[in-house]
């Protein structure tokens, strides 16, 4: 049995403007201890996948079809009783906006100890001790002061470390990190990434790291899954995807990265924009932006195909 | 929604009521007919008659007009006083702004209606004084509201852009800041008319608002008070009219609030780019 399996996951959001299809038919397996990066631009559905795994989808999300199997259990169809056993303890999540995800009226100590007391059945003092330990692991040695502080008294970088501390303090098997560095400046970003690498090594987490930045992805993860318009377009080992990209979108993405050492090169971008996600997919979503588009691309949805062991693409270029 | 219908009906009724009365003399209170005193509600007198034999239905219908006049008068006057003050305080800030807001806060230290009571007792009774008193107790709310709005708008990028382009303060104030800051305040003001009706009725009930024989709803309720045990309808129907009118405004306010929140904000944000 696979450790974590996403099967044909299609999730849509109900909005005043109609149903927005965030993901369509997402399939992938994760092995224990693997670190997978979901990479894509805004609207690619990568956050939705991450939130779904962590059972943290917003209230207007609708699971249209598919399952998320963890140890044989479908995480999407649990009762409240059962959910409590998995969220926080088996699967946890670090969110994107560190300030918004902490309650402004309670101290850090209160919030983190509640998480520990609920998940691990500890007493308050035991919980606080454990909290101190994990705050130090994430690089906040002044843990006493942090525990007594309210969220608005701490900086963005510190808050993000607190978030990470809360998420890992229950020693979950799977950690989803939803763009944890996007709201931080570059220096902090580097520090937080270093932290993730350390955690990956020392705690042997199964990491699902979500980012729009290919550079970050290649640093942190063994495996990269590229998403576009709610589908997986490419999925393979990180170094392979970076050095020998297969899907035209991935190729375009890599091309877009500005290279300071090459002069007189125009900044490249991928012309066009995302397709209208309020309509279900009927053909390859990248078709109207693709340089290598063929006739069949506008008529059917490509299935995913193995081009190398462990490296698959969803593109008609490689089919037939 | 239902609120919208009620409010529109109220406004329409308020505007046309003097012309649709079936018994104008009763409504305006210029007649007595002792033989018709205290008649209970019937087909001929749907709301019964009062101690002077006047048809209550007509009186309540005409009362709508006075309520409308008061509502518009109070809110309008409060806006006229409050908006310029808030605009100046918000836009220029500094010592002037502080001073204006201190004065505003002084007025807000009074519970609603208390100032109006003091003013009405000083200035004297009657419709115009009631409107004036209520307006004077009301303007600080709008000043506060506009002040906050102007401060928000002031720090928007397009105001900086206008300054950089060399537009004068007055121009910026009127062309850029005011229209954007004004919208929430105007909406609030329109919805406040219901509260104005309620508060004016309260003043009239206490005897310091509208005076007899003007058929303002609050006054009608107080006039029916001493005969309430024998003729409940004299107080009942005018009070019901107040209830329905204020209800209409409240329902409308709820509706507007729901509508305004996430959906309109997206489109409004988009329009604000230039």
């Amino acid at each position: 049995m696979e450790f974590l399996r996403l099967e044909d996951l299609s999730i849509a959001y109900e909005t005043p403007f109609g149903l927005i299809h965030a993901t369509t038919g997402v399939n992938f397996d994760v092995r224990r201890g693997e670190s997978v990066c979901l990479v894509g631009e805004s609207g690619s559905g990568k956050s939705t996948v991450g939130l779904a795994i962590a059972m943290a989808l917003p209230p207007n999300a609708r699971v249209m079809s598919g399952r998320i199997l963890y140890g044989g259990v479908d995480l999407l169809r649990l009762s409240e009783e059962e959910r409590k056993k998995y969220s926080g303890r088996e699967v946890s999540i670090v969110f994107q906006d560190p300030a918004a995800t902490l309650n402004p009226l309670f101290t850090i100590g209160e919030q983190i100890s509640d998480v520990l007391m609920s998940n691990l059945g500890l007493r308050k003092d035991e919980a606080l001790n454990r909290a101190r330990k994990f705050l130090e692991i994430v690089g906040l040695p002044d843990s006493e002061r942090v525990l007594k502080s309210f969220p608005h008294e701490l900086s963005g970088g510190m808050l993000q470390r607190v978030n990470i501390a809360i998420a890992i303090s229950t020693e979950p098997k799977v950690l989803v990190a939803d763009e944890p560095t996007t709201m931080l400046d570059v220096i902090l970003q580097a520090q937080i990434l270093e932290l993730f690498e350390k955690l990956k090594r020392e705690l042997k987490l199964t990491l699902i790291f979500i980012t729009h930045n290919l550079g970050v992805a290649s640093e942190v993860c063994d495996r990269i899954i590229v998403m576009y318009a709610g589908t997986i377009v490419e999925d393979g080992p990180a170094d392979e995807v970076i050095s020998r990209p297969m899907h035209p979108y991935t190729i375009g993405l890599l091309d877009c990265v500005p290279r300071a050492h090459i002069r007189d090169r125009k900044l490249r971008s991928i012309p066009g924009s995302l397709p209208d996600l309020s309509k279900p997919l009927t053909h390859c979503p990248f078709a109207d932006r693709c340089e290598e588009v063929r006739e069949i691309c506008t008529r059917a949805i490509p299935t995913s195909i193995d081009v190398n062991p462990g490296h698959r693409v969803s593109c008609f270029k490689y089919i037939g | 929604m239902a609120g919208f219908i009620i409010v529109i009906s109220f406004i329409a009724l308020g505007m046309i009521s003097p012309y649709v009365l079936t018994r104008p003399e009763d409504a305006w209170g210029t007649t007595y007919d002792v033989s018709k005193r205290y008649l209970p509600p019937s087909l001929e007198h749907p709301f019964g008659t009062d101690e002077y034999g006047r048809d209550m239905f007509n009186r309540v219908i005409l009362g709508a007009r006075f309520s409308l006049m008061i509502a518009v008068g109070v809110v309008g006057l409060a806006l006229i006083i409050g908006i310029p003050l808030g605009l100046i305080a918000g836009y220029f800030g500094g010592k002037l702004g502080n001073a204006v807001m201190r004065v505003t806060d002084m007025f807000l230290a009074f519970p609603p209606l208390l100032l109006a009571i003091a003013l009405a007792a000083t200035l004297g009774r009657g419709l115009e004084n009631a409107i004036l008193s209520l307006a004077i107790s009301w303007w600080p709310w709008y000043t506060r509201l506009i002040y906050v709005q102007v401060n928000t708008v002031k720090s928007m990028p397009y105001v900086d852009a206008a300054k950089v382009m060399g537009l004068g303060d007055l121009t910026i104030m009127f062309k850029h800041v005011l229209p954007n800051a004004l919208t929430p305040v105007m909406i609030q003001a329109a919805l406040d008319m219901g509260s104005a009706v309620l508060e004016a009725a309260g003043l009239s009930f206490l005897g310091i608002g509208v005076q007899p024989p003007t058929p303002e709803w609050g006054l009608l309720v107080s006039q029916g008070w001493h005969s309430i045990n024998v003729a409940w309808w004299i107080s009942f129907f005018p009070g019901l009219a107040i209830l329905v009118t204020v209800l209409g405004f409240n329902l409308l306010a709820d509706f507007v609030r729901e509508f305004m929140d996430p959906r309109l904000r997206i489109t409004m944000m988009a329009k604000r780019v230039i």
């Binding site: 926080g88 902490l102 309650n103 009226l105 608005h152 | -």
Partner: protein, 340 residues
């Protein structure tokens, strides 16, 4: 989450300024605006000599700032004028009437706050189901109802027609005489308990039910509406979703975390709610002949008793400011972001 001493001191100083502001405004309204303040002050049936005396009392021959100084001094010394209706000093009248009003307002407001918030939470958790809709209809009606009309209807229904409850005053005189009840604090509920006088206690409570219930309806409706709206809004916040994702049980998330965030703005608005309650009390006391400040003021209004009106306005405004200070302090205690 203790409040710093500095903050408390700052707020107290602010209160002094507020009191000063209230006095200045009342001065402006009662002495500056009227063309002949001495006429108002002396009352409608005053003789020429009484008017001349009023002129001297108000120091109207002096410049405004001198008048203002006398005004402030008089206020501090408790010299608030004499009610020509009751012939006794206004401050004395007001202080005598105060406990009755306080008892009524405290009961009504507590009812409004407790029931209002509970029903608001209840409705929010059963959003769009039957219970929620009933509560919403109830609260929007309650927020639209003129309190004086409701008082009359309630009086008619429960007192005249059904004969269930008494229609006026605080207690039946006969019972007072029979049981030898005498007021100590002025709060009859407390006094009767202190004297072990159960019949009077029940009787007072009986008299209080109707006015308190009627008075509580408006602030209760406001509380219900606001609590419900805030709970619904807070439940959408990211930090609620994160708590659930981190494994906290839903009960804890709703009743500890969401509730606190929702309650804080509701509590902050309780000050204003209280203001509406006080004004409502004027009319309720008048209709139920409840011997409090409201009745005193309403009678003063009807009989053009100007010194009494002014005194009542000042004392109510001061009371309101004090309540607002308390509410602000509670707000700051609950929300650490506010203590700037």
């Amino acid at each position: 989450m203790p409040l710093s001493r500095d903050y408390l001191i700052k707020r107290l100083i602010l209160l002094i300024f507020v009191v000063f502001g209230v006095l200045i405004i009342t001065f402006a309204i009662t002495r500056v605006i009227p063309a002949r303040p001495e006429l108002l002050w002396a009352g409608p049936h005053a003789t020429i000599e009484q008017i001349e005396r009023a002129k001297k009392e108000l120091h109207l021959d002096q410049p405004i700032y001198v008048q203002l100084s006398y005004y402030l001094i008089d206020f501090i010394r408790g010299n608030w004028g004499v009610s020509w209706r009751t012939k006794s000093p206004v401050l004395y009248d007001l202080l005598s009437a105060l406990p009755a009003t306080l008892e009524l307002i405290i009961l009504a407001f507590s009812l409004a706050a407790v029931l209002g918030i509970s029903l608001g939470i209840f409705a929010a958790l059963r959003r769009n189901r039957i219970a929620d809709n009933i509560i919403r209809v109830f609260s929007v009606l309650g927020a639209s109802m003129p309190v004086f009309w409701l008082s009359l209807i309630a009086l008619l229904l429960f007192s005249s027609w059904l004969g269930l409850l008494p229609s006026s005053k605080r207690v039946d005189e006969i019972l007072v005489i029979e049981t030898g009840f005498h007021p100590i604090t002025g709060f009859y509920l407390i006094d009767s308990l202190l004297q072990g006088n159960l019949p009077v206690f029940v009787n007072v409570l009986n008299h209080m039910i109707l006015p308190a219930a009627v008075l509580s309806l408006y602030p209760m409706s406001l509380s219900i509406r606001m609590t419900r709206a805030m709970m619904v809004e807070v439940m959408q916040e990211p930090f609620i979703r994160s708590s659930i994702a981190w494994g906290l049980p839903k009960r804890l998330v709703i009743y500890k975390y969401a509730l606190k965030n929702a309650i804080v703005p509701v509590i902050a608005s309780l000050g204003l709610s209280f203001g509406y309650t006080i004004i409502g009390a004027f009319m309720v006391e008048l209709i139920f002949v409840w011997p409090g400040i409201g009745l005193y003021t309403s009678m003063a209004l009807l009989s053009f008793d100007y010194p009494a009106i002014v005194g009542a306005v000042i004392i109510v405004a001061l009371f309101y400011s004090a309540i607002n200070l308390i509410v602000d302090l509670i707000h700051a205690w609950m929300d650490p972001r506010v203590r700037l």
